[in-house]
């Protein structure tokens, strides 16, 4: 059992394998993230940042290398095992929120628990508590189209926390928000990190946001070019 929540060894990801246009996007990355760490992964578009995020989030498997997430081997998991891992270990926060339309904030937060088979009563209880925590207790019955961007992202964060995942994986969470609401969302991440000790991976191209975290991993052309631990970030 690894002491790291994320333990990636020599991760390689290739596309169009065996075809003339074969493409190596990730060229042997080794990343280890201990529990409670707030990490930022930065890189230009085309750097392999998104591919890395897909692998961290168990949406995709590496072509070679090993990856264990919270002690579970991802590299050799089947599709249905990956679904289960995503459900239990990963809390996704997307740039464009990706709330399910025509479904209330409460039902959106309940969704991961629904797939986990949590009983309706416990689902609702926990979803309500989470929405209260992110400051959305007043708008639980609202549909996504009745919420502002910042409110949607807070609902999405509550949803990401539903099954108490090992990591929160946020992909440009402030990218679609103005700087003020973006600030509020970042504050929420800091709160979750400081108060609840969440392990958070923030994917961004915004250096300013990345500077706020404990550790900064910079990726360029499928390789790590910088991995800086900042002292006493909190």
């Amino acid at each position: 059992m690894s002491e790291y929540i994320i333990d990636m060894q020599d991760i390689v990801k290739k596309f169009f394998i065996g075809e003339p246009n074969e493409l190596t996007v990730l060229k042997g990355l080794t990343i280890q993230v201990p529990e409670h760490q707030f990490v930022a992964v930065v890189g230009e578009s085309g750097s392999g940042k998104s591919t890395l995020m897909n692998i961290i989030g168990a949406l995709d498997r590496p072509t070679s290398g090993s990856y264990t997430l919270d002690g579970v081997d991802i590299a050799r998991a089947s599709d249905s095992e990956l679904s289960h891992i995503r459900n239990q270990k990963v809390g996704f926060v997307f740039q464009n929120f990706n709330l399910i339309p025509r479904t209330s904030a409460l039902k959106n937060v309940e969704l991961p628990m629904l797939y986990a088979g949590v009983s309706p009563r416990r689902r609702t209880e926990r979803a309500k508590a989470l929405l209260e925590m992110v400051g959305m207790g007043e708008r639980m019955k609202h549909m996504p189209n009745e919420l502002s961007g910042g409110q949607k992202q807070r609902v999405a964060i509550a949803r990401a926390l539903a099954n108490d995942p090992a990591i929160l994986l946020a992909d440009e969470p402030t990218g679609a928000l103005d700087s003020e609401t973006g600030r509020l969302v970042m504050d929420l991440f800091h709160r979750l990190h400081d108060e609840q000790g969440k392990t958070i991976v923030l994917i961004t191209h915004n250096d300013q946001l990345a500077e706020e975290t404990e550790r900064l991993i910079r990726i360029s052309d499928g390789a790590i070019v910088d991995d800086v631990m900042k002292v006493a970030a909190s």
Binding site: S80, N87, F92, F94, N98, P112, L114, Y115, N163
Partner: protein, 428 residues
């Protein structure tokens, strides 16, 4: 992912596109509606037919004359009444009496009739319209006939050719009297050929508008003008019409417990002995039982044809559902990607969309049933029969639409389930 949640989701996604959902359902609605409507009308027809048959007596065997097949009839195979039977060809009472004597165990009576036509009974200013038939005593057995008062025509009336008559209570009403008082009275009847005859009333029976008369549109505008049946001895009738002594048709009343279909062939063989040497005619025999089963076979064939047409329209409807599901899945690619990212297994996505397709089909099916029942009721009432909505057809319709939903929903749902979450999340 439980079923209730899936149903809620499916309904909310249908409500978001009401018009589209309705248009998609249209194929199913029309298919199911047509089946239920046609089956309802068909059932009503069968019901009306069998109840009419029951009125006429299910156990009865009808015996009639049929032209023998010869070169002429083979060229033009319209066999019936090509030639008019002469006095020598007709069935005689002797033949029928002989039949009765030979098979007393199986045969209760026989009934022969001679139509006299319409007539009018007058009593001062009062009048009653009659439809007069000459009958024999067997008529009572052949038609479940019951008298209110008096007696029916008997053998001695027949032998002597008496001028006696059995009328309905409506005649008594029209003459401002009671059925009992009418008994023994002389009734002056003007026949359609102008001949005036006096008849003694010997019996009165209750008038009821039968299914048959209703079917023939025989209900007149006023009660006064309603034509009701009146019966006189068949021998008297023959004298009035000047008809030949004999019958083209007779009804054989079978005793209870006797298989009329089997006895029919016995009667057939027996009577045809008399026609062995007749160059033109032979006897044909129809049992009511066989007619009812014939009707049943006919309705079965019609039902099969309807089922085939309905099946085709439901398949077309199902393809419509499949098409709209494919559209819906394309529109909701990101949603599917999100669900997968949140940990939905492929099976949950598949079930979600199958449930949606099934819901479309079941709602379509229910709307189709409503349409069909209304159509059937309207159709049956136009034909003048009671509407009998078929419960079997309704249950089958709902089951079948659910099956269509599963069948045509599976492919799109499976396509959704197999989407790559990364591609789906990136979909614009």
């Amino acid at each position: 992912m439980n079923l209730r949640e899936n149903i809620r989701l499916a309904l909310s996604s249908l409500l978001a596109n009401k018009m589209r959902a309705l248009l998609t359902m249209l194929g199913i609605i029309i298919g199911i509606g047509a089946v239920i409507g046609i089956v309802t009308v068909g059932d009503s027809l069968t019901y009306a037919f069998t109840s009419t048959m029951a009125d006429m007596g299910v156990g009865n065997i009808i015996v009639g004359l049929q032209q023998k097949e010869n070169e002429l009839t083979q060229i033009t195979p319209v066999t019936y009444s090509m030639a008019t039977p002469t006095a020598d060809d007709l069935m005689t009472t002797e033949m029928l009496d002989q039949l009765q004597e030979t098979y007393p165990e199986q045969m209760l009576a026989y009934s022969v009739t001679e139509a006299v036509g319409s007539g009018q009974a007058r009593d001062g200013r009062q009048y009653a319209n009659l439809s007069i038939s000459g009958v024999n005593p067997g008529y009572v057995d052949a038609n479940d006939f019951e008298l209110l008062t008096g007696r029916f025509i008997n053998e001695s009336d027949l032998e002597r050719g008496r001028n006696v008559i059995v009328v309905t209570d409506r005649v008594a009403e029209n003459c401002n009297t009671t059925p009992d008082e009418l008994l023994g009275k002389q009734l002056r009847v003007t026949l359609q050929d102008g001949n005036v005859q006096n008849f003694t009333v010997i019996g009165v029976y209750e008038y009821e508008a039968s299914t048959m008369t209703a079917m023939m549109g025989g209900v007149s505008a006023s009660d006064q003008d309603t034509t009701t049946g009146a019966y006189i001895p068949v021998t008297t009738a023959k004298k009035l019409t000047g008809g030949e002594d004999g019958f083209e048709m007779a009804t054989v009343v079978v005793r209870e417990g006797v298989d009329s279909a089997i006895f029919a062939s016995t009667v057939h063989t027996f009577l045809n002995v008399f026609y062995q040497n007749n160059p033109d005619f032979q006897c044909m025999v129809i049992s009511m039982d066989s007619m009812i089963s014939l009707m049943g076979d006919m309705m079965g064939t019609i039902s099969l044809a309807v089922a085939v047409v309905a099946g085709i329209s439901l398949i077309v409807g199902g393809i419509g559902v499949m098409n709209i599901m494919l559209v819906s899945i394309t529109e909701r690619t990101r949603e599917i990607g999100t669900r997968k990212a949140l940990g939905a297994p492929n099976s949950a996505i598949r079930i979600q969309f199958i449930v949606e397709a099934v819901i479309i089909c079941i709602i379509g099916g229910i709307l189709g049933i409503v349409t069909g029942v209304v159509m059937g009721a309207v159709g049956a009432s136009l034909l003048g029969y009671p509407a009998v909505p078929s419960v079997t057809a309704i249950i089958l319709a709902v089951t079948f639409s659910a099956i269509i939903g599963i069948f045509f929903g599976y492919y799109p749902a499976n396509k959704a389930a197999k989407l790559d979450p990364i591609e789906a999340l990136r979909y614009e």
